[in-house]
């Protein structure tokens, strides 16, 4: 085939056994051909650079990245995509992924399945090492790869199909994800996958400078010269308030900058038009003049006397400060037998969900005024609606947010990204408008984990009992507020860890710089603070000659103890977590001694760390509402509005609801999340969904049950079933039935319906940070075994034991998946992840762990019921990441003497620290 690069030619492809004639340019990426020309959107795009492997397909049986194959090279060849796995005899691989919980958000799943398919066709029973090697080219950000590798190794011996639990037995059952099937057959529809007929494409023009003034040239002339470009939009086109931010009082970020951009990657204009025209124009040709200005990128410089103000109304470039103070820590430290002090610095960390931000907006009419529909990946549909209403000057009821399947979030998809941009474009053009961030755009423009500079001093007495602690942390919050105030507030509450510290002062500041906005990332600053605290605990244990586990156990909080904010806690799980590590800890210490006695090139060490973490908003209202109804035709519908970004709300919330109601979880029809169909279940953040939305689901299930039993005049002990569209209740010898078809329609079109809300009981913090900021805390402790190459400083993590108190385990497979995935992100934070604006805006310069970087993980699930949580459950999602990095750093030090003060612990930093320690 020879034709003009831009011209179409005809190419024959055999895709999943079917022949297709494609009319497209020969240089078109195979990924585009599959997704756009053939509508096979099961093949996902994560980077379009061969760095993530999400678009892996088999070309003549060999795995390739479809984003790197020109159509011309695929011509005449057989291509297998995720949609064709069953016909290729690989349905058992899909089943194994489901049964083992290998798909969380599911965005990497098609790529994983295809890479695994290539392996299994050669080797039906691979070893773990062979599987890890074969999958090394596909990145996953959710799972830590453990369950994926397990599924691949055992794919050819499929487990017996698990029976769905009976009524009352859903909580605690490791059921397959209820939304899992679509994730393994390629039919799941993420932000970029829904493309209405005639949709226009939106592309943003972004600042290439950390700080710059800009002015536009002849926008209209530029547009007219380019057929297919419908509109150019700037700040002047925004009908409402050109400001957004997750915390309304601090909303400061323009949707499109007004004359001055405050960080590299900030959007300044939108180009809307036909897909090809929008994809084709060169950004350099856009009529804009940039005037670069001095940029402050270092927080120390930002707070210096006389530094320029990034936001005029925020003196010293300080966004907010948080403080918790108890007793007299200065005096306590002065009187301590042992004192440990240190400073630690951490980097920007990028969430790197494998799905870049994407969505589509259109107008729908239900007979009255048209309604703007925005369908996008998100963690916070309710907040999206409120913010878009303000930006677009529409009443909230005229905006509908549909939560697309969301390919990972970890905090970054709490903030607005594409939503107001496509909403504005759809309003202005009247046509569906879609937008898909490129990987570079996603990395440059979305939020990051706050870089921290922390100092702390901690003391203990001669017997190793903690006496006092002073912590100070500066958090680089970037150009805009985002979740900076939350980080500054959460850190001082948690910086002691779950330990008894009688005299305490912790202060945190969120400081503006000309950097990407730092926001929410799994833990809101607590992972950084925990590194500081846990590293110093090792110093103290050494100083007083105690075993490091014994030191932590001695100081761990107990039931009935009060926190540093003066909150008395009933069910404190940290001791049980630490005790669960006792046997593996002793064994690991012995194994390290034995290994190191050989005096080889590598040395091994073991380290540990704890976590505690308050679930839900800090001392603020945080309600969730769940609705359920029984339809006249006997359908049992659960309106579940908690976004499932992979963590499992679509499964866990129904499990809780099912047991509260007393019907089998398999009989529930799931609806939502969609602001037109589901009540607000709040945002997926702060490890709150299992606890807060779960509690609302429990209350809702109980209410519906009470309603049914009242109708049937039966007592609380009755057993319910739903058979042939009728509710049957049995209690002892008596049996009663309810035919929904005979009941009059009630609210929301159901014959019986319940809607319940739950808001955690918290109290505000006073000026010393005293109060009850969270109603439920979760606890955990992890232990890492590492091997350090003493010649290069390269660290390999061998094994992590992770003991977490979940209160009550709702779904053990999903819980283990959270632990393994959190550990992968904690390992990345410790060893390799460092986002540098302008330098690591892709997934080959910014490193996240691959299959080969992950240790063996042994999750240990502990159940000490929480009096407030549903069925005793606590949150888990963020807890799992917090202890990992400090446990690894403590293990590195145990192995090699290296004391890491700047993260990540890249090989050159580890080697320098080994030298400093005299190793």
């Amino acid at each position: 085939m020879a034709d003009d690069g831009a011209m179409r030619a005809s190419a024959r492809l055999i895709v999943n056994g079917a022949e297709h004639l494609i009319s497209a340019p020969p240089g078109r990426r195979l990924s585009e051909v599959l997704r756009e020309d053939l509508g096979l959107r099961g093949t996902k795009l994560g980077c379009e650079a061969g760095d993530c492997g999400a678009c892996t397909v088999l070309l003549e049986g060999r795995p390739v990245c479809a984003c790197l194959v020109p159509l011309a090279q695929a011509e005449g060849h057989e291509i297998l995509t995720v949609e064709g796995l069953a016909d290729a005899g690989l349905e058992h691989l899909r089943r194994a992924f489901l049964a083992h919980g290998a798909a969380q958000c599911g965005i990497c799943t098609p790529g994983m399945l295809m890479a695994a398919a290539a392996l299994l066709q050669k080797n039906s029973h691979p070893t773990r090492e062979e599987a890890a090697e074969a999958l090394g080219g596909v990145l996953c950000r959710c799972t830590g790869y453990a369950k994926i590798i397990e599924a691949v190794c055992r794919a050819s011996d499929p487990p017996a199909r698990a029976e769905s639990p009976e009524a009352g037995a859903a909580v605690g059952a490791g059921i397959e994800r209820l939304d899992g099937r679509a994730k393994v057959d390629g039919s799941e529809s993420y932000g970029a996958d829904h493309v209405p007929e005639g949709a226009l494409l939106v592309r943003a023009i972004r600042s290439p400078h950390h700080h710059a003034r800009f002015s536009f040239g002849d926008l209209e002339g530029w547009r007219k010269a380019r057929p297919g470009i419908a509109l150019v939009l700037t700040a002047a086109d925004i009908p409402g308030r050109n400001r957004f931010g997750v915390i309304p009082a601090f909303a400061d970020q323009p949707v499109l900058a007004e004359g001055e951009a405050l960080f590299r990657g900030e959007a300044v204009a939108l180009v809307v038009g036909e897909a090809e025209a929008v994809a084709d124009f060169r950004a350099e040709d856009f009529p804009i003049e940039w005037e670069p200005l001095a940029a402050i990128t270092d927080p120390a410089e930002a707070v210096r006397e006389g530094a320029g103000l990034i936001h005029g109304e925020r003196p010293g470039n300080i966004l907010t400060k948080g403080r918790v103070c108890q007793g007299d820590p200065q005096a306590a430290l002065a009187a301590s037998a042992h004192l440990a002090e240190g400073e630690i610095e951490t980097a920007f960390v990028e969430h790197a969900p494998i799905e870049p931000e994407a969505g589509v907006a259109w107008l729908e009419s239900d007979g009255e005024a048209p309604r703007l529909v925005i369908r996008a990946c998100t963690q916070a549909p309710g907040m999206d609606r409120a913010e878009c209403a303000s930006i677009l000057a529409l009443p909230e009821e005229r905006i509908r947010i549909i939560t697309a399947a969301t390919g990972g979030g970890f905090g970054t998809k709490l903030d607005l990204s594409v939503q107001p941009l496509i909403g504005l474009a759809a309003l202005r053009t009247g046509r569906p408008c879609r937008m898909v961030y490129s990987r570079r755009e996603s990395m440059a423009s979305t939020t990051k984990r706050h870089p921290a500079r922390m100092r702390a001093r901690i003391g203990c007495d001669g017997a190793g009992r903690l006496t006092g602690m002073i912590f100070e942390g500066d958090f680089n919050t970037g150009a805009y507020a985002s979740w900076g105030p939350t980080v500054a507030g959460r850190v001082p509450v948690h910086a002691s860890g779950p330990y008894r510290v009688p005299h305490y002062r912790a202060e945190a500041r969120a400081i503006h710089t000309h950097s990407p906005p730092s926001g929410a990332f799994r833990g809101f600053g607590v992972p950084q603070a925990t590194i500081m605290q846990e590293v110093l605990f090792d110093d103290l244990a050494l100083a007083c000659g105690m075993d490091r586990l014994a030191f932590r156990l001695q100081n761990a909080m107990r039931d009935g103890d009060s926190t540093r904010t003066g909150q008395r806690l009933a069910a404190v799980g940290i001791r049980a977590c630490l005790e669960a590590l006792h046997a593996p800890w002793e064994a690991a210490l012995d194994a390290c001694r034995e290994w190191n006695a050989a005096r080889g090139r590598t040395r091994r060490g073991v380290g540990m760390a704890s976590c505690w973490y308050g679930c839900g908003n800090t001392a603020l209202p945080n309600p969730s509402t769940i609705r359920a109804g029984l339809a006249a035709d006997g359908r049992l519908c659960l309106h579940q509005g908690a976004p499932d970004i992979g963590q499992g709300a679509n499964t866990v919330i129904p499990q809780i609801f099912a047991d509260a109601l007393g019907l089998p979880v398999a009989q529930i029809e799931l609806i939502g999340p969609d602001t037109a169909l589901t009540p607000d279940a709040g945002k997926t953040s702060a490890s709150r969904q299992t606890y807060v939305t779960g509690k609302a689901a429990m209350l809702c299930g109980q209410a519906l049950r009470a309603m049914i039993l009242r109708r049937l005049n039966l007592g609380e002990g009755a057993r319910l079933s739903l058979e042939g569209g009728r509710i049957i209740a049995r209690e002892g010898a008596s049996e009663a039935s309810l035919d929904p078809a005979q009941l009059p329609p009630g609210p929301w079109g159901y014959v019986l319906a319940a809607e319940e809300s739950y808001d955690p009981p918290t109290t505000p913090l006073d000026e010393n940070g005293q109060g009850a900021p969270y109603a439920v805390y979760g606890y955990g402790a992890q232990m890492a075994e590492v091997e350090v190459d003493m010649g290069t400083g390269r660290v390999r993590v061998l094994h992590i034991h992770a003991a977490h108190d979940l209160g009550r385990v709702i779904n053990p497979i999903l819980a283990e998946g959270q632990i393994e995935g959190g550990i992968a992100q904690g390992l990345g934070l410790a060893l390799m992840e460092e986002y540098i604006p302008g330098r690591t805006e892709n997934l080959h310069d910014y490193l996240i762990p691959t299959t080969g970087d992950m240790p063996r993980i042994t999750p240990i699930l502990i159940e000490r019921p929480d009096p407030e949580g549903p069925f005793g459950a606590r949150g888990l999602g963020e807890h799992v990441l917090i202890p990992t990095a400090p446990a690894i750093l403590n293990a590195i030090r145990h192995a090699s003497g290296a004391r890491i003060t700047r993260l990540p612990a890249l090989p050159h930093r580890v080697l320098a620290a080994i030298r400093e320690a005299g190793g």
Binding site: D4, P25, E48, G50, T56, R62, L68, P70, L831
Partner: protein, 292 residues
């Protein structure tokens, strides 16, 4: 202009001479460097038979320019090519190895190209062609700087040759990066040794990612003559001295310059030690063969 995928070399060279198109082989560098669709003239060289295959020639080995790294990794080759095969398995993931080509890695001329040190220790020679004829260029003269080669307008790489004289002994490749897979090297090194009665007869050593183009270490190679594995630590200062003189590593987000200097030495010594081990085993196996 347009997208051309000729099936014979003559046509390809004509297009190359006439239109100055951009070349695409595996696409693993070109696509990531392209925002949006490929535009302008493109010459796709993957359908040209002369550019395929790994073959013995009368005087050595010939690797077609468009041979994919996965083919190199899977090929049945003597132990002198072990470094090249080990590097092949570290170039991206399997997906990349199934697309990326030998010549692509050379022509992209990244200072961190994993394929270059293993070919340097084989004294590889690059065969190029244009409408004006063919040229044979030593690899050392082919890559002239970061992202720069000696290719002239209208000229392309046809094959990589390794002469029998250099296709001897055993080799090893060592790569240091901050993660296990899909990682750009901080430092890498290849070493090839030919043993004579258990001691090094000839050695070739090359270090990558520490200078604009990977560098051989001729003084250290000379010092290795007569050495055995137990002499390597003694020779560390020789290598360190030469590395300090010949290398000019960068300070970047992956590592400091000082660290790269030090690791160049460490990683190279490890590569030499492994190559000696491999050569010893290969020698023993040969010996066993004769004995049997």
């Amino acid at each position: 202009m347009g997208y051309h995928r000729p099936a014979d070399l003559g046509t390809a060279l004509e297009i190359l001479a006439g239109q100055a198109p951009r070349l695409i082989a595996g696409g693993t560098d070109l696509f990531p460097a392209t925002d949006g669709p490929l535009q302008g003239g493109i010459l796709d060289i993957t359908a040209i038979p002369e550019l395929q295959g790994i073959h013995r020639t009368g005087r050595g080995w010939r690797f077609g320019a468009a041979v994919k790294w996965a083919e190199i990794a899977a090929a049945d080759l003597p132990p002198c090519f072990a470094a090249l095969q080990q590097a092949a398995r570290r170039i991206g993931g399997i997906q990349i190895q199934n697309s990326a080509t030998l010549a692509g890695n050379l022509c992209n001329a990244s200072p961190a190209a994993d394929g270059v040190p293993p070919l340097q220790v084989l004294d590889a020679v690059i065969e190029t062609a244009s409408c004006n004829g063919a040229r044979m260029l030593p690899l050392a003269e082919f890559i002239t700087g970061p992202r720069r080669t000696a290719l002239k307008g209208g000229e392309m790489v046809i094959a990589v040759h390794v002469a029998d004289d250099h296709a001897a002994g055993a080799s090893a490749f060592e790569k240091l990066g901050a993660r296990a897979h899909l990682v750009i090297s901080i430092v890498m090194a290849a070493a090839r040794v030919v043993l004579e009665e258990g001691r090094i007869g000839r050695a070739a050593v090359s270090i990558g990612a520490c200078s604009p183009v990977a560098r051989r270490m001729p003084d250290f190679e000379a010092a290795l003559a007569g050495a055995s594995a137990s002499d390597l630590e003694r020779l560390r200062p020789v290598l360190a001295g030469e590395a300090a003189a010949r290398l000019s590593p960068l300070d970047d987000m992956r590592a400091s310059a000082g660290y790269r200097h030090e690791m160049a030495v460490e990683i190279t010594l490890r590569a030499v030690a492994r190559a000696i081990g491999e050569a010893g085993e290969a020698g023993n196996a040969e010996g066993d063969g004769h004995g049997g």
